[in-house]
Amino acid sequence: MEKFSAHIGTAVPLRRSNVDTDQIIPAVFLKRVTRTGFEDGLFSAWREDPEFVLNNPAYAGATVLVAGPEFGTGSSREHAVWALLDYGFRVVISPRYGDIFRGNSLKQGLLTVELPQEAVEQLWDRVEADPAMAVEIDLVAREVRCAGLVWPFALDDFSRWRLLEGLDDIGLTLRHADSISAFETTRPSFGVVVN
């Protein structure tokens, strides 16, 4: 995972709630066995509508997606995170996320920031008034800044540290390899064994 400490970019206002992972990337794109190249699947049904916000050239090149509550609910497909990253997004801002999507995003270096609904609405208004307006996300200070406004956001210390250092989870867990082996000797004898 690439290190993430701060990001400055322009933003796309996605004025929708309950953007489930089937909208972020429909199941037909999940048949691939690769980990890259999912940008064509991102919001593919909605992108067929010329009025959809991602089709507005004013937002071309934006790297921050600002969405309504319950973003990324539904399916566990990590492809939703890959599609957002492959399309060029580095940060998503929403009042609330689906749990599995949030976990997936933080493991892949897509920063998912939780801000209150009021802050999201202020961001929508500002970005719509001036699509070239820069939004700054500072993971060290845990702040979002835009047009002189500052919103603090919460993120647990461990997830923040992993993002700042770009750490690999499996590597971190293998620090505990001895504990895993020790635990395995204590498992109940009636436990399921598949083979």
Binding site: R15, R16, S17, N18, D20, D22, Q23, P26, A27, V28, L30, K31, R32, V33, T34, R35, A45, G68, P69, E70, T73, G74, S75, S76, R77, E78, H79, V81, R96, Y97, G98, D99, I100, G103, N104, K107, Q108, Q117, D156, D157, F158, D169, I170, L172, T173, L174, H176, S179, I180, F183, E184, R187, P188, S189, F190, G191, V192, V193, V194, N195
Partner: protein, 464 residues
């Protein structure tokens, strides 16, 4: 100290606990399927890692598979994904039940049916409906592909300690109301984000009276209201269901297992961070009208007016939903005509679901112009249903009797809605395009699905 069921299962699986870090949890069973695993196996190969515990890992093919035959996967991309799973399982020594195998099926139907799902276990799968296995008092949840790779490599997961919620369902479900109606009503009450950050325990007299199939339907949809997992305390119903299944312990091991399982239910006085109450006796058949599982209503109601909702976010979502669903506010839900009825999925693809639907369809016909697909959740469900003659009832009614798989639940195999088609579906998600691009989904119980097939409009058996 008094602990909840979920806390007991959690505590029994903590491998390492460090200040300021998530707990490291041991995983007892890792279920794999073709969609969310290929990139994880690639990751292992790149890092030169092995599957740590192939003996705690099992795979099947379900999402991409056709349900009209067992031999030909016509889409080359789907075929490649299936072949990739087969190669990966062979290379890494993972047991696989492929298409055509007598045990193959939707992963969350296959696991419990084989007795692989047992109380007190930790179970994960790269699929959000892994919550299904919580019905046995297991801590079971869906994970992404990075975590699949993590479990393959280490048999553990880093997990932050969740909050605890109790959903207490008192009273008794009326005769024509099912577990599906119960969970749909609950999701509409609490909203799609209502369970976020919580492990939930479903309890109370109405839950205790449910069969294992009914409990699995309830736990299955935990993720649809955002819960991390949805557990139900193991009891005599659980033990009776498990005993004698292929992977269930036997003899003295069975006795030891049951003795342990009896210690798992929540202690009196254990603390829940949040409690939700629902009265089962007040419930009626329940369906969804919108494009998320929280947009539902009793079948006897009308399509709601989007302007009647409390917040602007809800109003905007409802406006968009009724437009997508092509519904007019005020229309009686019983007047909504459907093109397709889908009976199946990890939510409602088990024997009890098929029996219930067959009891409604017996001696009746699927309405002219309606297509009904009956898709058993596993090859074994299909075989059992045929032994009971259920397939003859379905085919005599004019429904299609198909092979096991995820089928029309998710629009990833040839079973899809065409743009504009409307379905009554026993699956779990009514998202835009979920069952095929431009398709419209109403989530219903197996009883409502069968009655709807006969009348051609959303209906309960009492309407026939």
């Amino acid at each position: 100290m008094s602990r909840t069921l979920a806390q007991k299962v959690w505590d029994a699986h903590v491998v390492a606990k460090s200040e300021g870090e998530p707990d490291l949890l041991y995983i007892d069973l890792h279920l794999l399927h073709e969609v969310t695993s290929p990139q994880a196996f690639d990751g292992l190969r790149l890092a030169g890692r092995k599957v740590r515990r192939p003996d705690l890992t099992i795979a099947t093919e379900d999402h991409n598979t056709p349900t009209d035959n067992l031999l030909t996967i016509s889409d080359p991309v789907s075929r490649t994904q299936i072949e990739t799973l087969r190669k990966n399982c062979a290379e890494f020594g993972v047991r696989l039940h492929p298409l055509g195998d007598p045990i193959q099926g939707v992963v969350h139907v296959m696991g419990p049916q084989q007795g692989l799902t047992q109380p007190g276990m930790t179970i994960v799968c790269g699929d959000s409906h892994t919550s299904t296995h919580g019905a046995f008092g297991a801590l079971a949840f869906g994970i992404g592909t990075s975590e699949v790779e993590h479990v393959l490599a280490t048999q553990t997961l880093q997990q932050a300690v969740p909050k605890q919620m109790a959903v207490t369902v008192t009273g008794e479900l009326p005769a024509d109301v099912t577990a599906k109606d119960l969970i749909l009503a609950l999701i509409t009450k609490v909203g799609t984000g209502g369970g976020r950050g919580y492990v939930v325990e479903y309890r109370g007299s109405a839950i205790e009276k449910l069969s294992m199939e009914g409990r699995m339907t309830v736990s299955n949809m935990s993720i649809e209201w955002g819960a991390k997992a949805g557990l139900i305390a193991p009891d005599e119903t659980t033990f009776a269901w498990l005993e004698g299944r292929p992977f269930a312990p036997t003899g003295a091991q069975w006795d030891a297992a049951v003795a342990y399982w009896r210690t798992l239910p929540t202690d009196p006085g254990a603390h829940f961070d949040t409690e939700v109450h629902l009265d089962a006796s007040s419930l009626t058949p329940f369906v969804t009208w919108g494009t998320n599982p929280g947009q539902g209503a009793p079948l006897g109601d009308v399509v709601p007016d989007p302007e009647s909702f409390g917040t602007e976010a809800e109003r905007a979502a409802a406006r968009r939903a009724v437009e997508y669903m092509d519904l007019r506010p005020g229309t009686a839900l019983r007047d909504v005509a459907v093109d397709v009825v889908f009976l199946g999925s990890c939510t409602n693809g088990r024997m009890e679901d098929l029996r219930l639907a067959a009891s409604v369809l017996r001696g009746r016909k699927v309405a002219e112009g309606v297509r009904m697909l009956v898709v058993p959740g596993s090859a074994q469900v299909r075989a059992e249903a045929e032994e009971e003659g259920l397939h003859e009832i379905f085919t005599a009614a004019g429904a299609e009797w198909r092979f096991a798989g995820c089928s029309m639940c998710l629009g990833m195999n040839p079973d899809t809605l065409k743009p504009g088609e409307r379905a009554a579906s026993t699956s779990n998600r009514n998202f835009e395009g979920r069952q095929g691009k431009g398709g419209r989904t109403h989530l219903v119980s197996p009883a409502v699905a069968a009655a709807t097939a006969v009348r051609g409009r959303l209906s309960a058996p009492a309407d026939l």
